[in-house]
Amino acid sequence: MSAVLDALCVVFLLGGTLFTVIGGIGMIRLPSFYTRCHAAGMTDSAGAAGVLLGLCFVAEPLVAVKLLSVLAFIWLTSVASTHALVKAAYARGLRFYDEQPIDLTNKRPQPGAEDRTHKRSGEEE
Amino acid sequence: MNTGIWNYWVVVFLMMAGLYVVMAKRNYVKKLMGLSIFQVSVIMLYVSMGKVTGGTAPIYVLDGGTPAEGIVYSNALPHVLMLTAIVVGVATTAVGLGLIVRVREAYGSVEEDVVTEQDRAAEAAEARDFAEAGP
């Protein structure tokens, strides 16, 4: 029985780690703000879920309940925060189709001015 | 050469980074951020000194109502001191931020250069007025 639980734990942990690593790669490799938000959100929901559920299989019952409640909070808060982030960017005028790829050298002009031009072009559409 | 003291070097680096920000940056908000980094480095120094290899958190592991034998605990004293220091730190940071807000309202800027220039200008004007009204 415990061997089965251990195996399940390992499977879930590896799955969670995989999602986290993919999310991390996505944060670096994906070209624009919204796609990066997707990567970050996946790390939070899928990666954390895998790790926490995996740990549940080997923990004592009380600890497992605590882990599950942590998972419930993460699923509520991180999803809501990703939503707020994306929506705030959208409200400030960042449109998906006319977004420039993020400059990795981080030498951008004034962010305020950039956003306003996006808004204007978005409204004209 | 003692190789187990790298934690102090990290602390020294953080401390110097905070000190550099406080001294070199001209923006008051940035200076306070530097001060926060400095403060964290001090907290890190204390807490890292309290760590005992192989130890666990300083909460007694109970075994039938009494502490279990043979468990090593990390030192609780630095934890106590730093626990209060963190909360005091944020309260004092808030005082600093309040001062910055008032400086911005009085001078229209939170850049040290602008504020100093205005102070010098006011001083010069005062001295001029005094010289004119004096004799």
Binding site: A88 | Y8, G55, Y60, L97
Partner: protein, 360 residues
């Protein structure tokens, strides 16, 4: 394995400190200080300082970031480009750093159980705390009983800081809008209030966070927690609520006047316990006086009441600080009407500036 985690987190910490120092967008820098604190909290956990980690996570990632953002809302979000490389600062920092590193060469190694810090009074606390106080969490026992004087003083500092911020930012608001109606707030809060998902999530989570704060307050004797953490978590929950629903929604729940009074109430509770033990014929904050035939019970009672006082004052002070920052209107200083040139260099008010302007 543990060493690997420690080293990785330390590397993150150093990186984050460098990025904060170099970042000129102060909004980003504020968010980075939140991440910095969270990494610190992780490090404290690895170093077995769970109570400290708890506090750091709630204070650094929660309250202090919000305070920085509130200040930025009242000031400017960009830092000016420096005019020259601060060579003097680099020199001072390099010299001091070298001296400090030289000074560390005599220090005991990381994790050394025979280090001087583990001797003396600390050893007494670690070995005798179970018999003398009888609480599983040694940190709570040392905090509230052995070093009760320290904690009382720290609470006084927090109280004073709350009064200071309140005096600094509550005064002088009317002169900002002489005669004219106050300008409409330019914050993004009204927009956030229109997001149904955030509203629902914040409403749904609020009771659980507040309940958790009370749990941390009451359970501090047995696990990580106590008055400081509980107070900070309680206020962080209310600030989260205020970020989404606006400060007035929080003030409807906790009236400002009431909260301002509560800052003193906690301190008075703490001091009151001390006076009570004095009148019972023991020394100040010697909780054994509360139950002479069973000193441990006296300690439990004293610690519980004292932690309650700590929780009340900490949470009330943090809330007052949030109130005064959130209710302060931004004084409008547009760059056009700036009394001084932003680019600096020239000494303003001097004759030379007027000359320079005439030349150009």
């Amino acid at each position: 394995m543990e060493l690997l985690i420690t080293v990785t987190l330390f590397a993150f910490l150093i990186w984050m400190a460098v990025v904060i120092g170099r970042q000129r967008d102060l909004f980003s820098a504020s968010m980075l200080t939140g991440i910095f604190s969270l990494i610190c909290a992780g490090l404290f956990t690895v170093m077995d300082a769970v109570d400290v980690a708890f506090t750091e996570a709630a204070v650094g990632a929660g309250i202090s970031t919000v305070l920085f953002l509130a200040t930025l809302a009242l000031t400017d979000e960009r830092e000016r480009r420096p005019e020259h490389t601060p060579l003097a600062a680099i020199g001072v920092v390099a010299l001091t750093g070298a001296a400090l590193v030289y000074g560390t060469l005599d220090m005991p190694a990381y994790g050394d159980p025979s280090a001087p810090v583990h001797t003396g009074v600390a050893r007494h606390y670690m070995e005798r705390s179970w018999d003398e106080i009888g609480l599983p969490n040694i940190v709570t026992g040392v905090l509230a009983s052995y070093r009760g004087f320290d904690t009382f003083g720290e609470l006084g500092v927090i109280f004073t800081a709350g009064i200071g911020v309140s005096l600094l930012l509550s005064a002088g608001t009317p002169e900002l809008t002489p005669g004219a109606p106050p300008p409409p707030p330019k914050s993004r809060a009204p927009y956030v209030r229109e997001m149904p998902i955030l509203r629902t999530v914040s409403k749904a989570l609020m009771p659980y966070i507040l309940l958790f704060a009370l749990y941390v307050q009451a359970h501090g004797d047995f696990g990580p927690g106590g008055g400081f953490q509980a107070g900070v978590i309680f206020t962080a929950a209310l600030i989260l609520y205020g970020l989404i629903w606006g400060p007035s929604a929080v003030e409807a729940f906790a009236r400002r006047r009431l909260v301002e009074r509560a800052t003193a109430v906690g301190l008075l509770i703490y001091g009151g316990v001390g006076v009570t033990t004095l009148t019972l014929g023991h020394s100040f904050l010697d909780y054994s006086a509360l139950s002479p035939e069973h000193p441990q019970h006296g300690q439990h009672w004293g610690i519980f009441v004292v932690e309650l006082g700590v929780g009340i004052t900490v949470s009330a002070v943090m809330l007052v600080i949030y109130y005064v920052f959130a209710s302060r209107p931004k004084k409008d200083v547009s760059p056009m009407r700036q009394p001084l040139p932003l680019l600096g260099g020239a000494c303003v008010g001097d004759v030379s500036t007027e000359d320079a302007e005439a030349d150009s």
